[in-house]
């Protein structure tokens, strides 16, 4: 699953550890989500969306849908 987490984090000048603290998860989890190695649970996805005041779909994009849109 593609996501804009790295961009959103960079816009706020947050480190992975900063974002991890905001979300109550480990830095490793943030890194795994950013590089697409781990898809977050729905509760964590909602938490991320709330933190950035966006919808889940604005942050996460299904790779098949993204490929079709290209």
């Amino acid at each position: 699953m593609k996501n804009k987490l790295r961009v959103l984090r960079a816009e706020r000048a947050w480190s992975q550890a900063d974002l991890a603290d905001h979300l109550g998860v480990s830095r490793q989890t943030i890194n795994a989500i950013e590089v697409g190695k781990y898809d977050p649970s729905l509760p964590l996805a909602f938490k991320i969306a709330r933190l950035f005041a966006m919808s889940i779909e604005q942050i996460f994009q299904d790779e098949d849908v993204a490929r079709a849109a290209e």
């Binding site: 603290d21 989890t29 795994a32």
Partner: protein, 155 residues
């Protein structure tokens, strides 16, 4: 620029770390106790030893629950995956040993293979205990190996 501070450790995390350290210390302490004295004490006061072991088991389960509550979802998932796949593979290897044992005993030195467990054989039910230890080893090694691979791949 918005800065954040590290959050203090939550209560479940404090219980988790405290419990893990206590379990580790208990394991070391039991390992340091004289084996002959321990065997004599178990013979003379079996109910105290059984009660103590039950308390230790309950404590270990409570610490495990606190540990799982204290870690985040990726770490939890690593444990679930490792227990399922590592544990299943470990058990399957034991099943292979069970089924293939008559043939294996023709081509490998069975006595050498089971030597680490053979010191249990003098005990009542010793061969059963040997099987229990072998099962724990297979599950733990499978679990640990799978966990390491999963964690390194994801992080």
């Amino acid at each position: 620029m918005q800065q954040t501070k590290s959050q203090p450790r939550s209560r479940p995390q404090l219980v988790m770390y405290g419990g893990l350290i206590a379990l580790f210390a208990l394991g070391i302490a039991v390992g340091l106790v004289d084996e002959a004295w321990l065997a004599r004490f178990a013979t003379e006061s079996p109910w105290i030893v059984i009660g103590g072991c039950l308390l230790l088991t309950a404590f270990a389960i409570a610490v495990s629950a606190a540990y799982m509550r204290g870690i985040d979802e990726l770490a939890q998932r690593a444990h679930y995956i490792a227990w399922y796949w590592g544990g299943s593979v470990g058990l399957t290897l034991l099943l292979f040993l069970l089924v293939a044992w008559p043939a294996l005993s023709q081509v490998v030195d069975v006595e050498a293979l089971t030597a680490p467990l053979s010191r249990l054989y003098g005990e009542p039910g010793g061969e059963f205990l040997g099987g229990v230890v072998a099962s724990i080893l297979a599950l733990t090694l499978g679990y640990f190996g799978w966990w390491v691979v999963y964690w390194l791949r994801k992080t």
